[in-house]
Symmetry: D2
Subunit: 325 residues, 4 copies
């Protein structure tokens, strides 16, 4: 995850890059833990509902515990599911004998909370000792006391979603390692798709990256690991703020280019958009089937619904978003 | 889980109780793994959408890893979330130093797949060596090769939901241990609520049981563990089949009374409705807030959406259903 | 774990209680991580060997994953062992087909490293920002970089062991909750057993407490949880230092009385003996069978051997000590 | 794990290879679960003690949770240790405030029971529906009811050990992939070392294989995974039986060559020696430091002690064997 052209000693501190940028801290009160999801009022729910036409549905989670492996950030492990009881136990006499003699399967799972399609807690990433809304970063110790994923999960996310297919827009199956795009590219791609990004739209951006994981050799996928994605600029941050984007959903693991090319800073949008503005991040989404359908029927907006698991104090939680067209 | 009034030796085998009852095996082809969710066509999605009025939303999962404990079937354990990284690590010099010096929290979770609000795989419970749609029960060994939760998660569940508040109907905060009701009671309660159960409605039935977990001492909750719930009869099974109910959602751990009172057979509806008919079961749902709102605005039907995690070979998967009114 | 007779506000800080007490920091160099185990030279090994008479052997670990539960400190969980493969899988066709068709069982375990008979790392407990030998307590973040259990495990523990049966000495099956004893009691009990505690002896002290776990109802065992055990005094600390005791092994979870009766301070001997002097602590040992044999043949000293698991950065590690008489 | 020169269709079934070979089933009664460890009588313990000379000690476990990875059989995972509490928590206010204010570190571990230096349960591997001593293989379902590692752990293993350094004998740092040797080679190597293998000796055989794991790239270690080791012959099985070898300890993951070269059968010695004769297997031992010392002082026999963890129903359990010279 290094950039050969950038001297590490010259990489600025995140606080320098963020200096003077807007925040939404306090905008929804000192106790707010859901940030821009506050924009998703009942009116926004109904606006999303109004985009439904045919009743087609799509689920956006990647599979968990896939024998081929799960796409995860280097250092994390994919989910491990383990059987606790099955027909073999009953054949061997190890199953419990219940009144009436029904039989059953049972299993458990060990998983990284950021190891599948997932909502980040707004407090998941920070700099300078404070997380979203100014809560002390010490409140993350042993579990997030503030701005955990729980309030997001309690509320759920419903609104108009719009899919921007950057890969298709650029005529590629998948964007290149480290390939970037910005809000102008999003606007242009939407226009080319025949649709306009509206205020408070939930943005789904497809790069083809996660889909490529299943076609690639894992070793190749992780070698020189740099994802394609949105790239930081002050104008982009302002655009997100003005557009009141509640939620950014992508088919990459980090929702943004791994290293900002000019400065070499790692994932600055987590800080500028999530920590400072309170934009909800949904990562590792499976967008290929939805994109293929949108390309086919030319309907790129829809009702987007998502409710991550209600994990108390979680830094994130897996989710299987559901889209209704 | 015994019934003092029933001699265990006289409890009939499940196959005797099920003899002559209808199945939907083969109805949707020999490879079908989602059963009555096939009823939820695009038309049904749109019927559900048509029930939306105000844009209010509710999430129906119980919390996971609650310090007070999670309500689980005896023998299972609640989810255990564990921090892997937080501000404490960065203060102590244990956090990774990234370009730009962002910091983050990370965690993992160990969970029973049936240990929170969850969709059962259609193959989760069986008798007589075959699971839903006639698949060999041996296919459950080491993970469900057939009728796992994965096809349900890939499809997602969307349709018109209707809430029947049996506790409120009977003037109770929570139904008693082992208290039963049947489809006539459901119909009557709906009528009293001013609504009619329609064909292909997703049934949400509230007993108050899971809500009581949080008010009770755990020892008391689990002592002489018998849940209230729907109770088996041939007429009830026929009614579910004729009504083409795709999905039964309740605020109990097993969706039905623990022991059928007449025969003493344990959880026969898992066999009659899920294994034989293919009705999807959603258990341990949190229905209290939704019910309070429905009682207040007298709107008992809504768009119900749910997408459990896409756990490969899972016997079930956690879910945070989302209701839009 | 409170003492009704002591006002919590008057409980002194550990540093006050420890003021002026001896340490062995630096005695074995600034990098030492094994403390008093340094006393166990080859000569001490041979002294232990010389105590062997009959060739009888005893293992001192409690069982792990016992269906009745494992005795653990409140808040920890006993080990959970889970099958990954067994005959049921092969019957059902889930087992791998190997050349020659052998079959096998496989399993994994989730365990607290302090959740069975175990050696504490010397850095496991501390006060005032420094662990054993003066290492910065921040070095414990994310795993012990210093004074972990690994150096103890790499070295192993071999020497003359001596069993002091305090329960038998006081004519009890098990000492009472909170019952205390000191070094004078140890000396007297040894004398009554017809043996003398020698310099550099590994001390095994039996209270009967862990054995009682298996006879008691778990709820009763944990109610008003206060263990019996050694109790703090300045003279006792001096005695351990002068006697150069390398290792204290008991059949309690904490090796000492839970609350020091005079001050109400919790587990001060972990600080005075382990953190300051570097005495190795072996907790939750199963001593009943060994004690019964010693009482029968009147041989209370023996070769003690123990080698905890080599867990990198571990705060402790399970161990099955082995005694040869 | 295939042998390019052998047609898989011609690989005989294990039962054919084992036909007519000796077993010790019933020799120590129908309930015996420890097999050849029965040979380790008190007299054998004293014979081992008699080999002690200098008081030098060695521990033989590999490290667990090593950042470089742990050597495990393909398909298993190395141990994962996770911090639950450390100084970072106390700095951030997440640590419990105890009377006297001591602080502590705590952690848990997820581990394969066969994923480190370990004793196999005698029932760990089988063919033809029966495990050691004729117990039904169905008794392995959900955990070993018979011939688990527990009885071995309860007894412990003590006797005279003898190290045969095959790598040094052949002038290599590490034996080649698939390189084999037999009992004649063991006898010759011992002779060259100036020592004789005696009846009831615990055999430690060094190949250099595990030590090479730490010098090799993991990818290279696992590519075309075939270990060196002892190879099957009827004469070798008879020799083990006549010599009453209680325990075979090696620095490979499977204690024998992965595929028997003549037939292509996988790990037949697990069946011939462990399942049929009841020889205890200790795998993944770290023998390099011990071997270097033996080569230096020319003392190749010693007291061997080992006590795996007392895991109830375990198919194996980790162990840190301890040698006293």
């Amino acid at each position: 995850m290094c950039n050969a052209e950038i001297d590490p000693k010259t990489v600025p501190h995140m606080r320098e890059l963020m200096a003077g940028l807007p925040t939404n801290w306090g905008k929804w009160g000192p106790d707010d833990e859901i940030g821009c999801l506050n924009y998703l009022t009942q009116a926004e729910v109904l606006r999303g509902v109004a985009s439904i036409r045919s009743g087609k549905t799509f689920t956006l989670q990647v599979q968990m515990g896939n024998p081929k492996g799960d796409p995860v950030w280097p250092g994390r492990r994919g989910a491990q599911r383990i059987n606790l009881m099955d027909k073999g136990d009953f054949i061997c006499g190890n199953g419990p004998q219940t009144p009436g003699c029904h039989e059953f399967a049972d299993d458990l799972m060990i998983m990284y909370l950021q190891g599948s399609t997932q909502y980040d807690a707004l407090g998941h990433v920070w700099y300078d000792d404070h997380i979203y809304n100014g809560f002390d970063a010490k409140s993350t110790a042993g579990g997030m006391q503030k701005a955990s994923v729980l309030p997001i999960a309690e509320r759920g996310v419903v609104g108009r979603g719009i899919l921007i297919d950057m890969a298709r827009h650029r005529g590629k199956d998948v964007l290149d390692r480290g390939e970037t795009f910005n809000h102008h590219d999003l606007i242009d791609a939407a226009k080319a798709q025949g649709i306009e990004i509206e205020k408070r739209d939930i943005l789904l951006v497809r790069t083809g990256w996660i889909g490529s994981f299943y076609r690639r050799d894992p070793a190749e996928f992780y070698t020189d690991f740099v994802e394609p994605g949105l790239t930081f600029s002050r104008e982009l941050v302002d655009w997100f703020k003005e557009m009141e984007i509640p939620n950014l959903v992508t088919d990459t693991i980090a929702n943004e280019v791994t290293l900002e090319p000019e400065t070499g800073v790692m994932i600055p949008l987590h800080c500028a958009l999530m920590r400072n503005l309170g934009v909800a991040f949904t990562e590792i989404a499976a967008l290929d089937a939805l994109a293929a359908d949108c390309a086919q029927d030319a309907q790129w907006s829809f009702l987007y619904t998502a409710a991550p698991l209600k994990v108390v104090n979680g830094s994130g939680a897996p989710v299987n978003p559901l889209v209704i067209k």
